[in-house]
């Protein structure tokens, strides 16, 4: 055995070893997409209103406020980022109550205090704190606290309206309309509305994080519950394993000992795909699982091309070793061509596609590259090593 061969074997073993380390344990190493672990994918757009036109600064401030709200909701590893000029992407993996989450994110939460004439005397801009609490009758309320500027304004507003109604509105809707008993000068007030414990907490959270500087609209909201995600993973794995077993059996029956070599290469290929996926910290989505399943079938294509070529060479009365060499050489261009065209399509999908579909493009591309490696290098080395023990008759 010459040293180049030894080196190749070492490289193959090393690659398999690295893939194993990268990929296992699977549930820790593979990052799941929102469609598999459950969660919400939301695209918001800041829209112009007569009072608040959208500019770059407003979008950035809105993004910070949304980030603040999401943090307070206690979502782990959320994604909040700008998409283009006016859009904000929010991803909330594993969120318990997506419904409320979405509602909390998109609310402008502009708190206003209005006199009986409907004039706005002050807003929630100078709030320093808001907490849910209970009044003396055990009803949920929201306690708010102004900074010094706010306290002055609030003192002024209450002083001028003693004995009158000072309405508290959120986004133009009245929450409560208390009558001012006496001027409040310490900057502390309570909002008594028709609250439940939960809604009081929500309002407090919204007020703490501040009002959005512009109106935001939900352009897209894709939410998957945790049950469906788990279902999808189970079914995807089941389909993948069934497909894998079918192919393993088929190759073994059709190509006998050669088929077993292709089977080994296929298993290595699967391992490489999962290892690469984990190594790149790529996200596995449901279409991504479909991409892996599809690769199972495409991966053996290269082996079939090679084996069929070797068969032809054998029929030309060439020696076994010469046939193996010629088979690989002549099949190489076809394998490269056919895989590259699929890569072109996968690239188009990755570049122009969105969301979970990108996951399909990723696994398909990784699968194509891994299958080329295993078919052209792993299969070849094993064939050469085993050439003495294999009977060419198994192919014919």
């Amino acid at each position: 055995m010459n040293w180049i061969k030894t080196l190749r074997i070492i490289i193959i073993v090393a690659v398999i070893f690295i893939a194993l380390i990268l990929a296992f344990p699977l549930n820790e190493k593979i990052r799941l997409g929102l469609d598999l672990q459950g969660g919400s994918h939301i695209i918001l757009e800041c829209v112009d209103t007569p009072n608040a036109p959208v500019d770059d600064d407003a979008v950035n401030r809105a993004l910070e406020i949304i980030r603040n709200r999401v943090d307070q909701l206690g979502v782990s590893e959320p994604v909040i980022q700008r998409e283009g000029a006016k859009r904000i992407l929010v991803q909330l993996p594993g969120v318990d109550d997506p419904e409320t989450a979405v509602e909390m994110i998109g609310k402008t939460a502009l708190l206003e205090f209005k006199n009986e004439e409907g004039e706005t005397l002050l807003t929630g801009a100078h709030l320093v704190n808001a907490q849910a609490s209970f009044d003396q009758f055990g009803r949920p309320i929201v306690l708010i606290e102004f900074d010094s500027v706010g306290a002055n304004e609030f003192g002024e507003a209450t002083r001028k309206n003693v004995g009158k109604i000072l309405a508290i509105t959120l986004d133009g809707e009245e929450i409560s309309a208390p009558v001012v008993q006496e001027p409040i000068l310490d900057g502390k007030a309570q909002i008594t509305g028709n609250f439940t414990v939960e809604s009081a907490q929500h309002l407090a959270l919204l007020l703490r994080s501040g009002a959005l500087p512009v109106k935001v609209e939900i352009l897209e909201n894709r939410t998957v519950g945790p049950t469906l995600g788990k279902d999808s993973i189970e079914k995807g794995i089941k389909a993948g394993l069934a497909g894998l077993v079918l192919i393993l059996i088929f190759m073994g029956v059709y190509y006998k000992s050669f088929g077993l070599i292709a089977d080994f290469a296929l298993v290595v290929c699967m391992l490489l795909i999962v290892g690469t996926l984990a190594g790149l910290k790529a996200t596995l989505t449901l279409p991504g699982i479909a991409g892996i399943v599809l690769t199972i079938g495409m991966a053996v294509d290269a082996n079939i091309l090679i084996f069929e070529r070797i068969k032809e060479e054998l029929r030309l009365e060439k020696t076994f070793r010469a046939s193996i060499d010629a088979g690989f050489n002549k099949a190489f261009r076809s394998i490269l061509d056919s895989n590259l065209t699929t890569l072109v399509a996968a690239f188009a999908l990755f570049y122009f596609g969105s969301g979970p579909i990108k996951g399909f493009a990723v696994t398909l591309s990784i699968g194509i590259l891994a299958s080329m490696f295993t078919a052209l290098i792993v299969t070849k080395i094993i064939l050469e090593l085993a050439a003495n023990r294999l009977s060419p008759k198994a192919l014919l």
Partner: protein, 310 residues
């Protein structure tokens, strides 16, 4: 083992039959696309999708009744293969209305669990549609460029004609069956485009090899020989690719079944077109081209112009 021993099918002789079959299927599909259009999913059309699992058996009619109370009786209600699971597709339903609908289900039918909820605004659908058209154009141009660089223009022309044939047939069948066109289906079409050119390339590759080896052989014989020589591997590679697609279709759940169906159709049509359409088309091209050359040799350029007028 050998799938086709001593194979010597005459694909060229019977090519008109294949052309006719393809033309009929294409025509039916195109008519359906033209008159019936596509059943765009909410990805592209916008709207709201709700996937629900009820804790008791309910019927589509019962669901439609309740939706009717919200003026949503026009919604599409699809019963999934999973027990008591349904997908409801409607125009835009806002958060408030959705909550009311779910409450109505709970009170009047059975407890619904929301498995999936998607709302896509019309702007996003429009943008998504545009970006997928770009993706399709990009893939086509990329493949034309690659095949042209590797072979020559006439090879890439027939490959792309075969690809268009495959994509249009799958789209036509989806339009005919009123199957939903979602992001996944477009991804499947793109994959078909990338994969189905493989079989064509393998035949063309062999054809080129044979053209070098047997320079005196007639083109139709060379094409026949090349298709026959590569027939086993064309069928085998398609077969092995179809196996996992079938398991995806049967075990992958409702989320992936249409995707698998599109891939399956594409693989079958793609292999068929590689063998029966793409390679024979090369002969047509050659005939037109050679006739022209002979004409040039015989009577000069005037004849060529006349030829074109025909």
């Amino acid at each position: 083992m050998e799938l086709f021993k001593d194979r010597n099918f005459d694909f060229i002789k019977h090519r008109k039959v294949a052309y006719t079959i393809s033309a009929i299927i294409l025509l039916i599909g195109l008519l359906s696309i033209l008159f019936q259009g596509f059943n765009y999913g909410i990805d592209f059309a916008g709207g709201t999708l709700l996937q629900l699992r009820f804790d008791q058996a309910v019927s589509t009619a019962e669901i439609r009744n309740i939706l009717g109370e919200f003026n949503l009786s026009q919604s599409t209600i699809q019963r999934l293969s999973e027990e008591n699971e349904f997908i409801i597709r409607a125009g835009n339903i806002d958060d408030e209305q959705r909550r009311e609908i779910l409450l109505a289900f709970e009170e009047k039918l059975a407890n619904p669990e929301v498995l999936r909820m998607e709302t896509v605004g019309p702007i996003m659908g429009e943008a998504l549609r545009r970006s997928f058209i770009y993706a399709l154009i990009f893939a086509f141009i990329g493949i034309i460029l690659y095949v042209t660089l590797r072979f020559e223009f006439k090879f890439s022309l027939v490959s792309v004609l075969a690809l268009l044939h495959d994509a249009l047939i799958v789209l036509g069948i989806f339009s005919l069956l009123r199957k939903e066109i979602s992001v996944q289906i477009v991804a499947a079409i793109l994959t078909i485009i990338g994969y189905s050119v493989n079989n064509t390339i393998i035949i063309l590759d062999r054809l080129r090899e044979n053209m070098k080896l047997r320079t005196r052989e007639k083109m139709e014989n060379l094409i026949n020989l090349s298709i026959n020589q590569t027939l086993t591997r064309s069928i085998l590679t398609t077969l092995t690719t179809i196996f996992p697609i079938l398991t995806l279709y049967f075990f992958g759940g409702s989320m992936l079944s249409d995707f698998a169906l599109a891939l399956l159709l594409g693989m079958v049509v793609g292999t068929y077109s590689s063998i029966f359409i793409a390679s024979p088309l090369l002969l047509e091209w050659n005939r037109i081209f050679q006739k022209e050359q002979k004409a040039v040799r015989a009577t000069g350029k005037k004849m060529v112009k006349n030829n074109f007028k025909k």
